[in-house]
Subunit: 191 residues, 2 copies
C-alpha cells in the first residue's frame, strides 16, 4: 500500500532493539483516512486471493481495533476484539488463548465471548503488527477453539526480521501485510 | 440517532446495578456500519451547534476508539487515544490524569504524548458511554494540561441516571449523546 509505505518512510522512528515507533498514525494517534484505506486494501487483497464469504473480523485490543473496524466496514461484517481483561458482561464459556504482553513482559489472556464467534463463522484475523507472530498465533488458537474457520491473516506492518510469517505458515492461510519493514545497516528499510 | 436507539432496544441487556450490556455492537463486537453512522451523527450534531474548526479527536482506550475513529473520518482530523499503560515509545513530559478503572476497581492513569496534543488544537472528546462522567472529566483535565481547547464532548450512549452531564456542566462545552438510557420499573428506557 503505497500511501502507507510513504508515511512510514516519512514518520517512523527506529528506536533500536527491533522497536519501530509509528505512534503518529497507527499506535497512539490514528489517521482515520489512512486507516480507511487500509481496510479497503485488505478487502481488495483478500478478494484477489480468492478469500471470500468472510462473516467476521477478529482482532485484539488495543491497536488492532482501528484497522479491523475499517476492514469490517469494507467487507460489511462485524468486528470482534479479544479482551485482555474479562468484563463483567462476558459470560462463562468464553474462548481464550495466551500471548506475551507488550507492556508487562508476562502473558496476557485473550478472551472472546461465545456469543460472537461460532463454528458458522469464516474469519479474517486483522492486527496492526506482524512481528514474532505470537499474538496472531494465540488469536488463531482462540478461533480454533470456537470452531470458526480462519480464512486469512492481515497485518498493517510486517517486521520481516522477526520472522512471524514462518511461525504462522503451518496455519495454511494467506497472510497479507500492507508494508514490510526490514533492518538495514543504518536504519529501517520499508517496502 | 434512531438506528442506534432501535439497536439498543432490540439487543441491550440490563444486568442490574446500572450495568447495560451492549457487547453485540459497541463494547466487544463492533458493527462498523453503525459505527460509521455514529461518526457522521457526531459531525452533524456538533456542526449544527456551531462547534467548528476541530483539529483533533481525543478518546481513551479501549471502547472509545471505534466511534472516535469514525468521527475523525467524518471531520477529516486525527484521533488520539489516551493510553492506560505507558508504551516504550512514549517520551517524557506526557500529559496525564487519573480515572477509575472499570475492570480493576482502582485508578488508571490516562496518558497522551506531548507530540500529539498542543495548545493549537481544538478538541472533540469522544467516548462510548457517558455514565458518572469521571473518565470524561479526567480526559478534559488532561486536555487542559496540554493547553488545547476542549470544544465539545460526544458519547454514544448516555446513562442519564448516573448524572454525568451534571458533573461535566462546569466545563461549559456542548455535550452530545446519540442515545439516552434511563431506568424504569421493569428495565431500561431508551430514547
Amino acid at each position: 500500500m503505497q500511501e502507507l509505505i510513504e508515511r512510514i518512510r516519512a514518520e517512523a522512528e527506529y528506536l533500536g532493539k527491533g522497536i519501530i515507533k509509528v505512534d503518529g498514525f497507527l499506535n497512539h494517534q490514528i489517521d482515520p483516512v489512512l486507516t480507511m484505506g487500509m481496510g479497503s486494501a485488505f478487502a481488495q487483497r483478500f478478494a484477489a486471493l480468492g478469500v471470500t464469504d468472510i462473516t467476521k473480523i477478529v482482532t485484539a485490543e488495543v491497536s488492532g481495533i482501528a484497522p479491523a473496524v475499517t476492514t469490517g466496514y469494507a467487507l460489511g461484517v462485524p468486528v470482534v476484539y479479544a479482551r485482555k481483561h474479562r468484563p463483567i458482561t462476558m459470560p462463562d464459556g468464553f474462548f481464550d488463548a495466551q500471548a506475551p504482553s507488550h507492556t508487562k513482559g508476562n502473558l496476557v489472556n485473550l478472551m472472546v465471548s461465545p456469543q460472537y464467534l461460532s463454528e458458522n463463522d469464516r474469519v479474517l484475523l486483522i492486527d496492526d503488527f506482524l512481528a514474532r507472530g505470537l499474538t496472531i498465533q494465540a488469536l488463531a488458537e482462540l478461533i480454533g477453539k470456537s470452531g470458526a474457520t480462519l480464512c486469512g491473516i492481515g497485518c498493517v506492518i510486517e517486521k520481516t526480521f522477526e520472522r512471524g510469517r514462518e511461525l504462522l505458515a503451518p496455519l495454511g492461510v494467506p497472510i497479507v501485510t500492507l508494508a514490510q519493514i526490514d533492518l538495514g545497516f543504518d536504519g529501517i528499510i520499508v517496502n
